[in-house]
Each structure stands twice: as C-alpha cells, then as structure tokens.
C-alpha cells in the first residue's frame, strides 16, 4: 500500500515546509537520495529505562505537528525490569505515520532504530519487522568484549537475511555532549529520525522543550543539543532520506492515548469521583486523572481492593455524584457482585474495563477483547447493563460523556470496554469544543412530592426518577433484595416479575433511541466483516484495500453492544456471507476435534448469531497484539474463497 517515488535532491533546503531550517545549525548537509512515501512504520526500541518510549512519543507528536496522520503504539515489556539486553525486554514505541489519517498500528515495521541487538532480535523473532526492512543499530557493542561476538553475529545474520543494517555510533556521538549517554541516546535517536524523515527541526526542538518542560533549563538545552547532533549525523552519514507529504489540519488536534482520553472524558462529563484499585493496563488513566482532578476539584480514591472501589463508587453515586470505577479483567471479575447491586438498586454507575489478555492474570500488558461475554452476562441473576466499546481514541473521550448521561438518565450501570491497544496508542483527534451539556446537573435536593415512590417504574419504559439523600420526603432504604415501588423488601411473585421487567425494559427503551450503525462500504455485497472496539481501524483499512481491488466486501463496526442498535438484521440481509473478526478466543473449525456441534465461537459472533439467526462465521486470535490490517485482509480473502 506504499507508493514510492524516488527523487534526488541537491541541497534541498525546504520541502513542503519540512527540512532543516536556516536557524540553529545551518542548511542541511545532505546530498543523497530522498524517497517520497505515502506512509511509513517506524519503531524505536531499547532496554526499558533507556527512553525509547519517550523518543517514540515525541516523534509521534512531531509528525502530528507536521500535519501527518499518525498512530503510535507502545511496546511494553511484561516485567518491570527485564534483564538488560534481553530478547523479551524490548521497550519502545511504534509510530505509523503517513499523508492520510492513520487509524491503526498497521502491519510490519519499515524502519527500526534499536539500542542493542538483543531487543532487535526479539522483535525479529516475534515477526513484527518487515522482512528486509531498514535497521539502525547502536554500534557501541562492537567494542564491548563481553558482547561483541553476539553483536557481530547478529549483524551478520540480519544482513544475510536481507535486512538493511546501518550501524550508528550513538553512544560515541552522545558522549560529545553528555557524560551519561544512556540518558541522552533517545534524543539523539529522535534527531536521526527527524533528519531521515526530513522533519522540521524547530518543531522537534519545541517538542523537546514540551517533553522536558518541568526539568531545569540545562537539561532541556543538552537534550536539544543531542537532537541537533542526531539530525546532523543522519544528514552527514546516511545516504537515504524520506519525505512524506503532509496536509495540515485546519483545526486544533489533541494527541493523547486512549487512557488519557478516557480520563479527559471523565473531567468533561462532570464526574467528580473515580474510585479505583491499581491494575495494568487501566491504571495510567487514574494516574493522569489524579493529577488533572486537582485542577477541577475531583478525587481519585484508591480503595483497598476492587470490590471496595466499586462499592465506594456505588455509595458516591447513590449520594448523587455519578461515579466511575476503572479496572481491567481480574478487577472486573471481582466487581461482579457489586455491579449486580448497582443494577438492582438502579444506581447510575460507570465502569471502565480496559481489557488485557486473559483468563486469570493472563497477559497483563497485552491487548485482548476477551471480556465481552462476561461484561454482558456477568453477575448472577438478570443484571442488564449498557455496554459501549469505543473504537478510537476519540471515542474514548466521548464515550465517557455518553456513559455518564445514560447512567444518570436510565439509572443504569454503563460499562465502557476498551483495551490495552487503545489504552496505550496515540492518534490525533479534533480538539473537543467544550459543551455545558456534557456536565452532570447539580445534585437534586428538592423536596419529593407526596406520594412519589423511589421506584415509580414507568410502565412503558421502565424508567423511574431517582431519590437522592438530602431530598426531603424521599427517605427510603435502598436494597439489593427484591423490592417493590417503595423500595420495601418484597418476595411477592408479581412484584418480582414487575421489577425484573422494569430493569430489563430500560435496555429496550435505550435501544429505541439509537441509530442503526453505519456500513463501511456498500450496503450489499459478498461479505460483511463485523467488528467491535479497538479493531475498527485495522478492519476498515483491510476492507478498503480489498474494495479497491474490486472485492465486494463491506464492514460493520459496533460501538453499542448492549443494547445492540436497530437495523442490523437488515444490514446482514444484504450480504452473502458474514464474519466477525475479533481479538479473543474462538475454536478453529479446522481443528480435528472441532465440529459444528462443539465449536466455541467468538463473543460477538455468539451474540449476533443468537439474535439474528444468521450463519455468521468468526475468526479471532489471542496473540496479545493489535490486529494487523494484513492479517485481517488475509482472513477476509480466505473467508471469501
């Protein structure tokens, strides 16, 4: 999908506003070839603690700044501190950027800059690097007797495997500027990359200032010097350069990851309390919120465990302040009983589950969509709740506002299902324009009219007005036991049927307010691919490509999963075949033991098959990594064959 156009450039000082500006270090010394690309996927990897993540994030911000589309994905080792130079220890960032909007992390890497050969080999082994891609490798290990052999062997192997390896004396170059290159190498690398991609050096410098904003001026200066040095080194020593035309957005954009977007959404929704217990990969949302809440007067309460966090949130919501509790799989499982209480008491509550690899402790730092079924069916008895799965970073922001509103309007539990992929990926989106309507209304403390009941279920919709402590005349005891309209404990069969109905009906009522989901592609065709949550970008990219090749394939992406929006049945009817593509478990129909009577389907496939009785196939994987457009494409092709 990458169009390559080669052009030779002689002392080209500015291209589309890129290139090295006159200020600072003089015109670029570069005399070599400049290749024009539509997009590229770059990876920066190091041992953890060497700053590759910061380098990658800064690079992402700079390209976004330039007006390029971008999607950054964190590479996180599973251990806090894996041994140095270890194959499983790669820490860093992948930046996919291009002329057009980038909607997902993409396929294999085009260019990698690595701080040692071991983390690089880890990436090769996990098949994340494109065969034959460009490798920029720190060369200091050549001079380190203990590891020189490992290093040179690796380089040789990589070259003979067809990789284009460029060795960079990063350590040596950095020593010219700082005494501890381990702490500065990342900015040198950033400079190299900026040079390679003909980016605006001043923008890069501004970004460094932003990154180290809180540090001393001296720190900032030395980092800028490292950046400049990297830029110059690339110009002087490498014989290739890239250029990716950009189109500047006319509107301000926000660059944050999904967890920060969630946290910003909490602020914007007017929620004031977040009760949580730390768990990867959800916690960073609370970290950010702890800080940001200080400005607007909110509180992040770290409870003694997830059960307490959920009950604390329920207490606060009951008392009139709709509260959010943020967690991931194991914590979500622990909250099941408390979520049932909120459903039964009709207490508005927003629960965020940032999914990670399961089951059990599973793969804490890896992404998966394994919790959909337990989200819908978790908690004993009938516990209807709303389930929303944001598909983009932007969705993460707005879904919190929607969630709070639904929670308080319907007095329901709303679960937001994101995942480690969204949590740690960055993609620019239009800066939201503040709207007063986002905020929760102030707590109602008006007197309750005589005769009104705390569960005056509307016979048609199931809705009831909630009484909030402090409201004179509204005194009643909320209970998780079966209860009547007065919140009196009741075991009468009719009352139980009535209250079960009211709680269930609210989902149907909400469903009536939803629009049918948009189809990506034509409304009829040979194949409909159905997805949900964070896989949207990858699926649509694959579908787009296949459509360009003339394949009659479209896709449907669901954000509301409970209730399912109307109109899906009609959409399904337009296609010969349907398949869900998900990042969770399903048995392969090709497995010897598996047949139609025992195959375990993916979550969304189960839900859709059951509701629409359409033979929807499924394909899924649990590799802990975001789906790649190439994989999706292959799956669709196979399913269509």
């Amino acid at each position: 999908m990458m169009e390559v156009e080669e052009l030779t450039k002689v002392k080209k000082e500015k291209t589309n506003g890129h290139g090295v500006p006159a200020t600072g270090m003089g015109p670029s010394a570069y005399m070599g070839k400049v290749t024009r690309l539509n997009e590229h996927l770059v990876e920066i990897i190091s041992d953890s603690g060497e700053g590759a993540q910061k380098c990658g994030q800064s690079f992402g911000s700079i390209v976004a700044q330039m007006g390029l589309g971008v999607w950054t994905t964190e590479i996180i080792p599973a251990e806090i501190r894996p041994p140095a130079r270890s194959v499983a220890g790669a820490s860093g960032n992948r930046i996919r950027f291009g002329s057009k909007r980038v909607t997902n992390g993409g396929n294999e890497t085009d260019l990698v800059i690595a701080f040692n050969e071991q983390v690089l080999l880890g990436r090769v082994r996990s098949k994340e690097l494109k065969p034959g891609c460009t490798i920029l490798l720190e060369s200091m290990w050549r001079d380190d007797k203990r590891v020189a052999k490992s290093y040179t062997d690796a380089v040789e192997q990589l070259i003979s495997a067809g990789y284009k390896v460029y060795e960079i004396p990063m350590d040596k170059e950095c020593r010219k500027i700082v005494s501890d290159p381990r702490k500065g190498k990342n900015m040198f690398a950033l400079g190299v990359l900026c040079g390679l991609y003909s980016l605006d050096l001043q923008s890069a410098r501004d970004q460094v200032v932003l990154t180290f904003g809180k540090k001393a001026a001296k720190v900032i200066e030395s980092n800028i010097a490292l950046l400049d040095a990297g830029y110059a080194w690339a110009d002087a020593n490498l014989d290739f350069k890239y250029e990716i035309p950009a189109e500047k957005s006319t509107e301000p954009q926000i660059v944050v990851n999904g967890n920060t977007a969630l946290a910003l959404g909490v602020l914007a929704s007017g929620m004031e309390i977040c009760a949580m217990y730390p768990i990867t990969p959800a916690t960073s949302a609370s970290h950010y919120l702890s800080d940001a809440f200080e400005e607007v007067g909110g509180i992040v309460h770290q409870a003694e465990d997830e059960i307490a966090a959920c009950c604390f949130a329920i207490g606060a919501s009951y008392a009139g302040k709709c509260t959010v509790t943020i967690t991931s799989g194991p914590g979500y499982s622990l909250k099941q009983e408390a979520i049932g209480l909120a459903v039964m008491g009709e207490i508005p509550l927003v629960v965020v589950n940032v999914m990670r690899g399961g089951p059990s402790t599973g793969q804490p730092t890896k992404t998966e969509q394994g919790d959909l079924m337990t989200t819908i069916f978790g908690s004993h008895g009938d516990a209807p709740k709303v389930v929303i799965a944001p598909a983009t970073i932007e969705d993460c922001f707005y879904s919190m506002i929607t969630a709070r509103k639904i929670a308080e309007t319907f007095n329901m539990v709303v679960v937001i299902l994101t995942d480690a992929n969204l949590a740690s990926s960055q993609q620019p989106f239009k800066r939201p324009v503040f709207d007063e309507g986002w905020l929760a209304p102030p707590i109602d403390q008006s007197a309750i009219p005589p005769g009104a009941k705390p569960y005056d279920w509307d016979p048609k919709t199931g809705l009831a007005r909630r009484f909030i402590p402090g409201q004179p005349g509204g005194m009643h005891t909320l209970t998780g036991l079966a209860h009547d309209e007065n919140s009196h404990v009741a075991y009468d069969p009719e009352i139980n049927q009535r209250s079960m109905r009211a709680r269930s009906l609210k989902l149907a009522t909400l469903q009536k307010t939803l629009n049918p989901p948009p189809i990506f592609g034509d409304p009829t065709g040979d194949m409909l691919v159905i997805g949900w949550g964070s896989t949207k970008g990858a699926i649509e990219e694959a579908v787009e490509l296949l459509r360009q090749e003339g394949k009659k394939v479209s896709s449907l992406h669901l954000t509301f999963i409970q209730p399912l929006p109307p109109g899906i049945k009609e959409i399904l009817a337009g296609f010969k075949k349907c398949i869900t593509i998900e990042n969770n478990w399903s048995d392969s129909p090709n497995d010897e033991m598996i047949d139609g009577s025992n195959r375990r389907y993916s979550a969304l496939a189960i839900l859709l098959r059951s509701r629409y009785l359409v033979d929807i196939d499924c394909w899924s994987e649990c590799r802990g990594t975001p789906l790649k457009p190439n994989t999706v494409r292959r799956v669709i092709e196979e399913a269509m064959a």
Binding site: S61, G67, S203, Q207, L210, G213, K248, S249, T250, P252, V255, L264, A268, E272, I273, A275, A292, V296, G297, G298, I299, E304, I307, A308, C311, F312, A313, I314, G315, A316, Y318, A319, T323, A338, D395, I401, T402, K405, E408, P432, F434, P441, P442, I443, D444, Q445, S446, R466, P469, G470, P472, G474, M475, H476, T477, L478, T479, G480, T513, L514
Partner: protein
C-alpha cells in the same frame, strides 16, 4: 457516538429543578423531631433480639440530636442486623454482605453534609468484610459504625462467626467451633489512625445509648462493638453475663463515659480508664470476662480522610471548563504548526 440523542427522556429519568447546590452543604435552621419521625414499620427480628435495643437507641439518638431524616443515612451489609436501616425513616442503604463500609465511605466522600451510620453483623464486618473494616479504621471517615456482635451468623441460621467462642456448637461446627474467638477490639486498636473504640452490651440500654451518643459526637470513625443477644440461635449464651452484674466492667473517665449513680449501684465493677492511653486500651480490650464496657480509646486529633480530600471549591461550569481547556492545551497541536510551548 458523541451525538446520541436520548429522545425518550421526558423528565422522567432526569432530576428535575435542582435547588441551589448550597442546600446540600448547609443545614441552616433548627428542627424539632419526635421519636416517631425516625420509626418505620415493625421490625422483623425475633422477640428478645438485641438488634431491637440498638434500633431503639439510634432512634432516640436521632431525635435527641434532631437529625433531619433526609440528611441521615443508615448503611448496612447483609444479615439480621443489617435490616436496621429498613426500620429507620431516614435514607438507608442495605448493601451487600461485608460491604457496608466502602459504600458508606463513598457516601461520606461525596456528601460530607450527610450524617452516616453503619450497622454490621459480626460475620459481615469481621469475616467477609474484614479488609474493609481494617481500612475504614485507617481512613477515619466521620461516621458511627456499630458492630452488632451476636457471636453467630443469625440470618443464615446458626453458623460459626469469627467471634464465636471456641467450642460453640453450630451448624458448620457440629462438634464445637475450632478456634478462639477473634477479638474485634484488639484488632481495631492495632490499626493506624484508629480514633474511637468502644464496647457495650445490648442489655444495658442507658449505657448503650450513652456509648452510641459519644461515638456520634466523635469526629472520625467511631467503632462500637455492641454485644448483642441472639435468642433464636443462642438463647442462653449471654445469660450468665446478664444475671451477674459483676461480669461487666464499667470503664469510666472524665474523657470517657460518665456512669450515673443508678448504673454504678448495679454494676459495681468499675474501672477508671483514660481513653487516650492506647496501650492500656489494648490490655483492657484483651479481657472478655468481665466484659469491659465503655470507651476504650479516643483520639480527636486524627485527621479525617474526607477532610483531607474534600475540595471546597464550588464545582462551577467555568471551573470545569477552564480546567478541561487547560488540560486540552497540554496535548493540542494547533493549525499554525507549532505546539504552544509554555515553560512552567
């Protein structure tokens, strides 16, 4: 997704005409209440159940302190004792087995204008709820927590509780329970930030009332263990203690409970105990026969979590808007091509 229209809403689901937000923070006028203002329904406890005595005491307290019923919340877990909120004509939250404390904490943090009481059983608080109990002591949020300790699981029909004495025959310990009883007082006194610990028995109403009253007036987490009779499953369990007044040890002090002549005449075993002395409190707490009754420990200096954390700024739209815009600024790329760099 950001423009979903909730077209079924017709004021039915949303709060209507909220008053000024100040109303939830201030109580500006004095009210007078009668006992009946706090009573609701007929308690469904067994005849002679100690929970009745506790209910009566808290209803009296509410009246004497003129607590506005709409500003008062009784929170409980699950168990016989946890039915108490249903018999109070205040707000109530009958939550989950073991989880009364975190619910109450959420209420308190959201609404420091509400008075919060917590009623728990011994299984509720000391078994399934033990982690929350320990941490509630540490949070030291301003509420009055009553442990209805009947040494047994009442509601589920006679299983051993952590406070069941060793050898007690129950449905899960048919040959007698296996372990020495947990002492809720010594556990509580071992937790940092503990600020008020008292013990009382259900069968001395005056002391029960005085103790709950002292707890109510304490600013912080006031923990009272009420030794409560369960005539249904343990009809003779406390009999000997009730018959013999010398098996109750009255703790009194100018900073603790004041024992009046009437009580002093019947309960002759008395001890002066300064509730600020935690070491002595722990020693006294370790004893179970005679039952020490009164205030074991009190420290008014321990800060309350909600005070440390509550933000008194009015959370106006502009406060939120400005805060949000400032956060957006941190992450914004402007069309003019440069991040707005501010060095601060």
């Amino acid at each position: 997704m950001n423009n979903i229209s909730l077209n079924v809403l017709n004021g039915n689901g949303a709060a209507t005409e909220p008053l000024n937000v100040n109303d939830c923070l201030l109580q500006l006028y004095e009210e007078h209440y009668e006992l009946e203002d706090y009573q609701k329904g007929v308690p469904r406890w067994c005849t002679g159940c100690g929970d009745n005595a506790i209910l009566t005491a808290v209803q009296r307290l509410c009246r004497d302190e003129a607590l506005p019923p709409e500003k008062t919340v009784f929170v409980s877990g699950i168990g016989c004792s946890s039915r108490l909120p249903h018999y109070m004509n205040t707000y109530g939250f009958h939550s989950l087995h073991g989880r009364a404390l975190p619910v109450a904490e959420g209420i308190r943090l959201a609404r420091p204008d509400l008075k919060v009481f917590v009623n728990m059983g011994d299984g509720d608080c000391c078994s399934i709820g033990a982690a929350h109990w320990i941490h509630a002591i540490r949070y030291n949020m301003n509420m009055t927590a009553m442990l209805h300790d009947n040494n047994i699981y009442g509601l589920t029909k006679k299983q051993a509780s952590p406070t069941s004495p060793i050898g007690l025959k129950t449905n899960t310990t048919p040959r007698g329970s296996y372990l020495d009883a947990l002492n809720p007082l010594t556990v509580t006194l071992g937790v940092s930030n503990v600020s008020f610990v008292a013990q009382v028995v259900d069968w001395i109403p005056k002391l029960l009332y005085q103790t709950i009253q002292a707890a109510y007036h304490h600013k912080g987490f006031a923990f009272i263990r009420v030794i409560q009779r369960c005539p249904e499953w343990l009809p003779t369990h406390m009999e000997a203690y009730m018959q013999d007044p010398t098996r109750v040890l009255l703790l009194h002090h100018e900073n603790g409970l004041h024992v009046d002549d009437e009580l002093a005449k019947r309960y002759t075993k008395m001890q002066e105990h300064d509730p600020s002395d935690i070491n002595r409190a722990r020693e006294i707490a370790s004893g179970s026969d005679p039952i020490p009754v009164g205030i074991l420990y009190r420290n008014d200096e321990v800060p309350c979590y909600e005070d440390v954390r509550f933000d008194s700024r009015l959370r106006t739209t502009s406060l939120v808007k400005n805060g949000l815009e400032a956060e957006f600024d941190k992450f914004t790329i402007w069309p003019d091509g440069h991040a707005h760099v501010s060095r601060n």
